[in-house]
Amino acid sequence: MTTDNNVLIKVENLHKHFEDIEVLKGINAEICKGDVIVIIGASGSGKSTFLRCLNRLEEPTDGKIYFEGVDITDPKTDINLHRQKMGMVFQQFNLFPHMTVLRNMTLGPMKLLKQSKEEAEANAMKLLDRVGLADRADAYPGQLSGGQKQRVAIVRALAMNPDVLLFDEPTSALDPEMVGEVLDVMKSLAREGMTMAVVTHEMGFAREVGTQVVFIDEGVIVEQNSPEEFFSNPKNPRLKDFLSKVI
């Protein structure tokens, strides 16, 4: 338990094993309100697993995760309630293909937050308008481009009015010309003070809106710094090597 009211998520000594493979080997991290934490690392480094542990889509093997002061790794906590406050955006969008865009966005608010249909739909339309997709409200996900799908996925998460958004490589499955439209939405969210944890390969995004950049390698955080320091003055040799390959 922390006394600092600004800390939204606190991770203590997080371990995750898949069978015999240890993917996370003791991660400690803090995410404060308004932070945009960008997590980078090579494929297989454990960065996605780390993000997915934060809302327990992956069950941590060991360690503690506090969200808004509550230990959500405690089996007695109702994780479903906390997940309502932690939006997640996936690499593969994961929109519900059998529902319209609008229904995708109103299902959670109506069933979980008990909003009325009118309220949920008005709110959803406002959000869709914001990402320039108000005219696609009645379309099915299969009728949208990748970039449009991901923008809908972001506003679907936002419709739950979360306190933090987790992004798991949100632009990696997109055609290059669609990456920009998704990053623009994410940037505008960041500027409005939305707390975000973003696993990505978009170094430009990290530099521009990240408050902290974290480099995960072989299951541990090996370097964490402000974007300026992180990119201009990397200290860890593996990070140097990684940056030289991706930039």
């Binding site: 889509l57 939006g87 997640m88 929109l95």
Partner: protein
């Protein structure tokens, strides 16, 4: 030539008109439809329950240690379902029917009830595997997206997984429905006067094989065509979201 036409009309009369046999055929058809309808419903209910239990086990507990009492219950239920599916799929339906009628229903001899239960329990095993394959075919990401919004396992199943799974397996379920209808033709083994039994009865009474048997065949075919027509319609409606 006249003899030929006379012969045909005579066997037609014997098959349908004498002793009001057409009414027997209708009654037989009614029995077949009754057994099929209730067995179908029983099969769907059983099948869905088992599919949900089995896929819950497959997705969450397979090869893992039980963490709660709920886990243990699911594991036990899964084992029971496995035995059920193995036994039902491993034995002929007509044998199951005879066991039901001559052993389980020994005292009441309620043939129709025995048939409904036998065919329903039999169909349930197949429906279970069809629905389970549908559930398992849904991308894991659908689960994760739903859970990440805060939906629990049950709501995720109801709102996200089952509607998509059902759409995917509708053709296979329709096929199972048709198989069930035709399988009930062995009900005569336990003296139920279903459509096939009546056809055969008329054949043995009249010594005319052609009209009774062809009539029975045509009636089955027509029912199957009607079922197929409505299934296709339903499929098309559910395809609305595919683009």
């Amino acid at each position: 030539m006249n003899d030929f036409i006379n012969g045909i009309s005579e066997s037609f009369v014997k098959t349908f008109i004498t002793e009001d046999r057409w009414q027997q055929i209708l009654a037989g058809l009614g029995t077949t439809l009754e057994i099929t309808f209730f067995a179908l419903i029983l099969g769907l209910v059983l099948g869905f329950l088992i599919a949900i239990i089995r896929s819950t086990y497959d997705m969450n507990l397979k090869g893992k240690k039980s963490k709660s009492a709920g886990d243990v219950i699911v594991k036990i239920l899964n084992a029971v379902c496995n035995i059920y599916i193995t036994v039902i799929r491993g034995t002929p339906v007509v044998v199951q029917l005879m066991i039901m009628y001559f052993i389980v229903f020994l005292s009441s001899r309620d043939g129709i009830m025995a048939a409904i239960l036998s065919f329903g329990i039999n169909s349930g095993a197949y429906v279970a595997e069809i629905v389970r394959s549908g559930i398992m075919s849904i991308d894991k990401g659908q689960f994760e997206a739903s859970r990440s919004l805060g939906f629990n396992y049950r709501s995720t199943m109801i709102h996200i997984i089952l509607p998509q799974a059902l759409k995917n397996v509708l053709p296979a379920l329709g096929n199972e429905f048709i198989v069930l209808l035709k399988e009930t033709s062995v009900a005569g083994y336990v003296a139920i006067q279903d459509l096939t039994y009546i056809g055969n009865l008329i054949r043995s009474r009249t010594y005319e094989a052609f009209f009774p048997l062809i009539t029975v065949a045509v009636i089955y075919l027509v029912i199957v065509l009607i079922i197929s027509f409505f299934l296709k319609k339903l499929e098309r409606r559910l395809r609305n979201s595919d683009h």
